[in-house]
């Protein structure tokens, strides 16, 4: 998957047939992070009422529903992907880039949780049940990087110092 061209209103990406299948298989896993993962606060302050937590839960549930709808539209609408000689062209508006990033990162974080939250550079303990999550986590990272690169955001060498 790479950015073909970017305009003010959209970005166009090229995907090979295998990449398209992998992207679709990956986003089908959405949502993967358990709803209980999100907490409004770490402290037990009196001002933090159950009502506030309930509102957060509702807001995130609504967001997930909208993102899920967008995922299904992308998966089921052949017009969203234009077939080319070498694969497919995916056209994304800025808002669609945002929901796709949210979806991919949910699957990435959810996969990481399913793998037991391994530290960077450490191999997770793989089993027959969780091996697919390692693939999903890595794929999401790769797709996210490509979307972010199209937005002009790349890792800087200075980030690794200090």
């Amino acid at each position: 998957m790479n950015a073909r061209r970017s305009g003010k209103d959209h970005h166009i990406f090229h995907l090979g047939p295998r990449e398209k299948d992998l992207l679709f298989q990956t986003i089908k896993l959405y949502p993967l992070v358990p709803a209980s993962h999100y907490q409004l606060s770490k402290s037990k302050n009196a001002a933090q009422s159950d009502e506030n937590q309930r509102l957060l839960d509702e807001s995130l549930a609504e967001q997930r529903q909208q993102n899920r709808k967008q995922v299904l539209e992308l998966l089921n609408d052949p017009q969203r992907l234009r077939e080319t000689k070498s694969g497919f062209e995916l056209k994304l508006a800025p808002t669609q880039m945002e929901w796709l990033l949210q979806v991919l990162n949910d699957v990435r974080v959810g996969s990481w949780l399913s793998l037991g939250e391994p530290e960077p550079g450490k191999e997770p303990e793989l089993t027959e049940q969780n091996a697919r999550f390692l693939l999903a986590m890595e794929l999401c990272g790769a797709f996210e990087s490509m979307l972010l690169a199209a937005l002009g955001i790349r890792e800087s060498p200075g980030w690794m110092n200090g």
Partner: protein
Amino acid sequence: MTDAATTEVLPDVGREEETKDKSSLEPAWLVICWNDPVNLMTYVTHVFQTVFGWNKQKAEHHMLQVHRQGKSVLARTTMEKAEHYVHQLQKYTLHATMEAES
């Protein structure tokens, strides 16, 4: 983003309010982003820019704080706005919370 330990230093809570003007009575809330090593540094930078409208330099500064120190205070604001920011950050699956300022 890093393997640095995420020491949870929470603000003191339950402090007595003093009888002053309205602004001093209104408690300040800190919006904190905690490190999850799975998140890409580029992704966190993008989310900070999107949610707070920051320029790249400021977003990178806070992203690196999260990466190197385990957390970064992103905003000090009212309870209502802190809730809004936490909601937005969590929509992007970032580990964000709001804590009362000590």
